[in-house]
């Protein structure tokens, strides 16, 4: 890692000059044959791969309006060209959203449009050759599907839709990505991305109970598979082991404990993340999601609350109702799924929890809007609740809060640099460079306002920043879960709850 060249932190995000092929060495690893087969994909590239891939592309063009329209209407105005964190970090022109789309668009023109068939030269139409497929592999695994480009596009073209389709096409010819397919294999067989079996999960939750007891003197429970609990909590599995994720999980537990709301987690659906979205596979996304519905029915809960995870909240908020709804077996009095931030803030606003902000007085906090929460979901009742509710929650447990530069937060927030299935070691160079815009914005408030904590509500963001910020000379201890701050400030035994 020492040889990754990071930009000097100045607090300013500079648009680089084009540097051709700057990121061609950043290549995701290919999945092993058995990992592809487990998910129903061919083990490896068959001889007639081109025909299969084009058929798949034709099929997707009739199934997804987004893909069809987005491949047609781009006018190449260039508004997106300086918006992708991977372009800003690498300068590789294929990381400009329009150029990334163009890799598929040139094949679309060649095979699916009249103009491309008649005048291939005028409109850059190309066969789907080995070389083109190689470019796809490279650059469709350098898109974190954060949707930032789509905010600025006059037609709302969302490169995420195109990279999802590209990965679906590549999977259809046995070109799976190792990280995503490995994770999906674990979740469909064991129930979570990390492949933690029930006994291990049980153990770690018991350890957690002991830890919290030791630290606070209070019996905060972390229940697993408790039938008839009121709430089923679905957390990203990183919350069970990684830091600062687990501090967030402790926070959820304290909130339920203090509110007096019975809750449970599920060993069958012990994963909130849904990598089916990353690889653009509708059926797998549904297969992963339906475990959660099944668990909720099996455990006979009244409502579903979900933990801090960005893309999973997009899947839950925007897609669950279509994929695994309707949720008419749950209590209609409550929104399901509800985000843990909505749940906790509501309790605090109803004065059901006792909070002592002074426990966070040593912190000056800023908030990193996670891309999928910001541009793929909502919280609360009005648009933009996904920005306001986490901030309100932080401010209700901390006295010192500062926002980063407005060009880098809320709907125009930058991705952490590892979303969309890119949180894997072989892409470390890309991940470090892709984190540059956020690192610059963070640096500015650290210098100016003395910020020492960046809170967030996404498991991938947390894992990414703890790893890459040190490359910029920023200590990993700045990275915090939002519910870690809640956990710090909550006074146990202070209130009767709801």
């Amino acid at each position: 890692m020492a040889d990754i060249k990071t930009e000097q932190l100045t607090g300013k995000i500079k648009v680089p000059k084009i540097n051709e092929s700057a990121a061609t060495e950043d290549r995701a690893n290919r999945a092993r044959e058995e990992q592809n087969v487990l998910l129903g994909f061919p083990p490896s590239k068959p001889d007639n791969w081109q025909e299969i891939a084009l058929n798949k592309m034709g099929e997707l063009l009739t199934k997804y309006k987004s893909l069809k329209l987005f491949l047609d209407v781009c006018v190449k105005c260039g508004a997106c060209t300086d918006k992708c964190h991977y372009f800003l970090g690498t300068g590789d022109p294929n990381n400009m959203p329009v150029a990334r789309q163009e890799l598929m668009r040139k094949v679309y023109r060649k095979h699916f449009t009249t103009a491309g068939k008649l005048f291939p030269g005028l409109s850059r139409a190309e066969e789907l050759t080995e070389d083109v497929m190689d470019e796809w592999w490279n650059y469709y695994h350098q898109c974190s599907q954060c949707r930032r480009c789509s905010v600025f596009c006059p037609f709302g073209i969302d490169t995420a839709e195109i990279s999802m389709a590209a990965r679906e096409i590549m999977n259809s010819v046995g070109m799976g990505q190792k990280y995503s397919n490995e994770v999906l294999g674990k979740v469909v067989t064991v129930g979570n991305n990390l492949g933690i079996e029930k006994p291990a999960l049980q153990n770690s939750l018991e350890f957690l109970e002991d830890d919290v007891k030791e630290e606070t003197g209070t019996d905060v429970k972390f229940p697993l598979d408790q039938k008839n609990a009121e709430v089923l909590l679905i957390a990203p599995s990183a919350d069970f082991f990684s830091s600062p994720h687990i501090e967030g999980l402790i926070g959820y537990g304290k909130v339920f404990h203090e509110a007096g709301v019975s809750w449970t987690m599920s060993s069958y659906a012990s994963e909130f993340a849904n990598f089916g979205m990353f690889i653009g596979n509708y059926d797998l996304m549904k297969k992963v999601a339906i475990r959660i519905r099944d668990a909720a029915e099996e455990l006979n809960v009244k409502r579903i609350v979900v933990g801090e995870c960005g893309h999973a909240w997009r899947v839950a908020y925007s897609f669950w109702n279509t994929l695994i709804g309707p949720f008419d077996f749950l209590d209609p009095e409550h929104r399901s799924p509800a985000h843990i931030c909505e749940f906790t803030l509501d309790l605090i606003q109803r004065d059901a929890l006792k909070i002592d902000k002074s426990y966070n007085d040593d912190l000056v906090v800023t908030f990193h809007d996670s891309c999928n929460v910001a541009r793929g979901s909502r919280m609360g009742n009005s648009p933009g609740g996904q920005f306001e509710i986490p901030r309100e929650l932080i401010k209700s447990v901390c006295r010192n809060f500062v926002d980063m530069d407005e060009e880098t937060i809320r709907e125009v927030t930058y991705c952490c640099g590892a979303g969309g299935g890119l949180l894997t070691d072989e892409l470390m160079d890309l991940r470090v460079k892709g984190a540059m815009p956020r690192a610059q914005a963070l640096h500015e408030v650290m210098e100016r306002n003395g910020v020492n904590t960046m809170a967030m509500i996404c498991a991938i963001c947390k894992a990414q920043f703890t790893k890459v910020l040190p490359e910029y000379g920023v200590d990993m201890s700045v990275v915090a879960s939002v519910h870690q701050l809640v956990s710090n400030a909550i006074v146990l035994g202070g209130k009767k709850g709801v």
Binding site: S66, V73, A79, S123, F319, N321, P383
Partner: protein
């Protein structure tokens, strides 16, 4: 059809053919956009929570290019002016086909003339931007330059008829009215007009098969036209009921 010159017959045929290709091509594309399903809710958030809100969002996009404004002010100013003057010019040209011509079209007339000049200038600006900014130079292809050159040439030939080699406006109008009323008359003996008309026909035929389809496509973009009511109303995927 009696008394029509060979040249007129050829051009009358071409006019009807290009208009037919334009209409059929445009309608076919719009039909494809309309019927291709959207399996999932994918509005770019934060998004409106009601249909009325979506109408407002789209009004902003279509009338003011709000997203482009957020994206790049320099492109916005050039692109916005280009589109506004193009609209004025199209409206001005209605006087050649509408009998009687509504007052409001005559009112637009003089603006239409200035618009022609501005169209050429703004097309030049957009062309220069493509060449001089390294990122747009990288992404621009022949088709992108072609569209700008075509529009500039149409405007330039139109302006030339107005200022350099005065066209016989009443002969032009007779010809155009003849076309739209399906009782064609001879094409005016004016080379500039014939070039102008030919370029317009090229534009018509080219449009449905090119990026210029953004004109129709924008109204179907799922990230812009979808309502954020994911919880309140179950969105059904037509291919996974």
């Amino acid at each position: 059809m009696k008394g029509l010159s060979t040249l007129s017959l050829v051009f009358i045929f071409l006019c009807y053919t290009s208009a037919a290709i334009f209409l059929a091509g445009f309608v076919r594309k719009v039909y494809e956009y309309a019927v291709t399903p959207s399996p999932l809710k994918i509005p770019t958030m934060p998004a409106p929570t009601t249909k009325g809100g979506v109408v407002l969002r789209m009004t902003g996009e279509v009338l003011f290019f709000t997203s482009l404004f957020k994206g790049n002010k320099w492109t916005w100013i050039g692109g916005y002016i280009f589109h506004i003057v193009f609209l004025l010019i199209v409206l001005r040209h209605l006087r050649y086909v509408l009998v009687p011509t509504p007052e409001v079209i005559y009112f637009i007339g003089p603006f239409g003339i200035h618009a022609g000049i501005i169209l050429v200038v703004s097309a030049g600006y957009l062309f220069a931007r493509r060449i001089f900014v390294d990122r747009t130079r990288y992404i621009s292809s022949g088709a992108d330059y072609f569209a700008l050159i075509l529009m500039a040439l149409i405007a330039a030939t139109g302006l030339a008829m107005q200022f350099l080699f005065m066209a016989d406006v009443s002969a032009v109008k007779d010809f155009m009215v003849g076309l739209v009323t399906f009782s064609p008359v001879n094409i005016p003996d004016d080379h500039l007009f014939i070039v102008h008309l030919t370029l317009v026909m090229v534009l018509l035929v080219y449009l449905p098969f090119s990026k210029l389809m953004h004109a129709g496509g924008i109204f179907f973009s799922p990230t812009r036209v979808m309502v954020d009511d994911c919880n309140e109303k179950r969105h059904i995927n037509p291919w996974d009921r």
